[in-house]
Amino acid sequence: MDDLVYTIAFYILAAITIASAIGVVTKHNLVHSALLMALCFIGISGLYVLLQADFLAAVQILVYSGAVAILIVLGIMLTQRRSMENTNPNSGWPRGAAVVCALLFVVILIVIAATPWHYSSSMAAQDTPSVLARLLFTDYMVAFEAAAVLLLAAMMGAIVLAKGGEEK
């Protein structure tokens, strides 16, 4: 019974994720794309819940659906003055790109099918936040600090670029 619920939940969430992702790249209205992207992120966070990554699911919603989606919408609002109709056009060769992507997809599917996976039978870690925190502040300390510096650089850069561009 649990299995059945899990399976149904997976397919529903996967369908939401993929359908909204397709919407992001096919909708002609940029705002629709951005909203679908937020939906896609929520679907992905549902998948994380199924994968027992509860902390990550929360981070996904907070950072992606919250911050990133809002940033993108802000970007749209500040750069799009005319009507939103047809703000998301294709370039010259969508068919060719589709063929390339289909080929790439087939390659990835073959790789997925052909690789032998060594499943582990042990239980998933409970209480993920504390395990993650321990990893972040012990083993991955350098990466953690470097990421902090990266955020500082990005913040500084974003301010400098946006301000320098406007008050010329």
Binding site: V107, I108, I110, V111, I112, A114, T115, P116, W117, H118, T138, D139, Y140, M141, V142, A143, A146, A147, V149, L150, L152, A153, A154, M156, G157, A158, V160, L161, G164, G165, K168
Partner: protein
């Protein structure tokens, strides 16, 4: 646990933070040249400190961050590159409308990213180091606020760079899935040649080749080199490329040892088309920065050749080449900045009569270009000799010959610039100003290039020590 291994990175980041704070304290309209001097002095201090660290071989944080002579050698390349770049770009930065202090701070953060890349011993630290470097470069490429080319270049670099990061990460996820680890030694222990592993490895290498701008992953380089502020172009061609090389070397020779069977064929082909393509396209360029972009693509092709001989002598030749490539680049870009200041543009014809206006810079430019072309007695000759003799020993005679032919062809377009410098009359008659720091940087590059060319021994010895410290060999 020994945090002191991280001293040089921490020092660079603290220096950058100090500059940010001082920038706020300085009066608004005062020049930020003092901050530039502070940055240069700090970097020189850190460089002196790294010299004392040779011979150390230790790891910190469960082996995720390692400091050995190999990492140190690369760190010294980055520190020298940034030091000399700072020296020749004070005037350039002063010409920026505003945010000069932040410019220095961001430049230092990019270098911190490169240094982390050189020491990283797991895919996560590699990734964060790479991103720290590239995200900072996205900003710096778009830093020239009065030029639309600069914002265009920044945007394009940002898009292509993010896509390449995503591809690299997708590869990382596959490697993690196939080996269950992201630490290099663990990956080597669990490495298999399953399809997923090969796929992941291929994507990671493609991502790194993008950072190094090897053909066919080079599309971004010419435009971004042209649009970026010149000091950033210099740092892109020295830092980004060499840092990618550092990661690639450590990864291939520690983590992906079983993959080397698949490695030779692909890398030799990529090296070949990179050398041919870069050389041929460079001949048609009229903009010096674009020409340098293609030239640096070719140079990266030469460096990658050394990877084919998977032993200490091959790595040694690559390290040696990376160092002399850095010095030659400094000479060229210092001259480009001086000429740009004089003429306001970067066309090759602007170099007309440089020999009369500034004999020193004319000599520096000539020596640096000839070093890149591999003419004795310049350093480039010794470098190419090391690189190609090691691969010929490994049976890649055709690649050695190809490299030789391409070097000969590249002499043509390098000499073309030299011809403009010496044969043509100056087109603008006004005083040619060379600032003192720029003169020093150019002089250091000139002396280093000649000295390495005539006495390659000491540097080769150092490179050898560094190569041997890559423990697996």
């Amino acid at each position: 646990m020994n945090i002191t291994l991280l001293t040089s990175e921490i020092a660079i980041i603290c220096l950058s933070l100090l500059i940010i704070i001082l920038d706020l304290l300085l009066p608004r309209f005062e020049t930020r040249r003092s901050l530039g001097y502070l940055a240069a002095a700090g970097v020189a201090g850190v460089f002196a400190y790294t010299c004392t660290q040779y011979g150390v071989s230790a790891t910190v944080y469960q082996g995720l961050f390692t400091l050995d002579s190999f990492a140190l050698f690369f760190k010294q390349i980055f520190l020298l590159a940034i030091l000399l770049t700072l020296l020749f770009s004070f005037d350039y930065v002063e010409g920026l409308a505003k945010y000069q202090g932040e410019f220095y701070a961001l430049l230092l953060l990019a270098v911190a990213g490169m240094m982390i890349m050189a020491s990283a011993n797991d895919l996560l630290t590699v990734f964060i180091g790479t991103e720290l470097m590239t995200v900072t470069f996205y900003i710096l490429v778009g830093y020239q606020f009065n030029s639309s080319k600069s914002s265009e270049a920044g945007m394009k670099y940002m898009i292509l760079g993010s896509v390449s990061s995503a591809v690299l990460l997708y590869g990382v996820s596959w490697v993690y899935g196939c080996t269950g680890s992201i630490v290099f030694e663990q990956i080597a222990k669990h490495a298999n040649t399953s399809l997923g592993m090969l796929f992941g490895f291929g994507l990671i290498v493609a991502g790194l080749f993008f950072k190094m701008a090897l053909i066919p992953f080079h599309m971004w380089a010419p435009e971004i080199y042209e649009g970026a502020p010149t000091p950033i172009t210099a740092m892109l061609s020295m830092g980004s490329k060499v840092a990618g090389l550092a990661v690639l070397l450590r990864m291939v020779f520690i983590a992906f040892v079983p993959m080397q069977a698949y490695w030779g064929g692909i890398v030799s082909i990529i090296a070949a088309i990179t050398m041919i393509g870069g050389t041929v396209i460079a001949m048609w360029q009229t903009n010096i920065k674009r020409m340098m972009a293609y030239s640096s693509i070719t140079q990266a092709g030469y460096m990658i050749v050394g990877l084919l001989s998977a032993d200490a002598s091959g790595i040694k030749s690559v390290l040696f080449y990376a160092m002399l490539y850095m010095f030659a680049n400094v000479g060229v870009f210092a001259t480009i900045i001086a000429v740009k200041k004089h003429h306001g543009s970067n066309e090759i014809k602007d170099f007309s009569g440089l020999a009369q206006q500034s004999p020193l810079l004319a000599v520096v430019m000539t020596v640096s270009l000839l070093s890149m072309a591999g003419i004795p007695p310049m350093a480039g000759f010794a470098g190419k000799l090391y690189v190609f003799s090691t691969v010929i020993e490994k049976g890649y005679l055709w690649l050695g010959l190809l490299g030789f032919v391409m070097s000969m062809i590249s002499v043509y377009y390098y000499l073309n610039v030299t011809k403009v410098i010496y044969m043509n009359e100056p087109c603008v008659q006004k005083e040619f100003i060379v600032s003192q720091p720029l003169r020093i940087a150019a002089l250091i590059s000139l002396l280093a290039t000649l000295w390495i060319g005539i006495y390659p021994g000491p540097l080769a010895e150092l490179a050898n020590t560094a190569a041997r410290s890559l423990s697996i060999l």
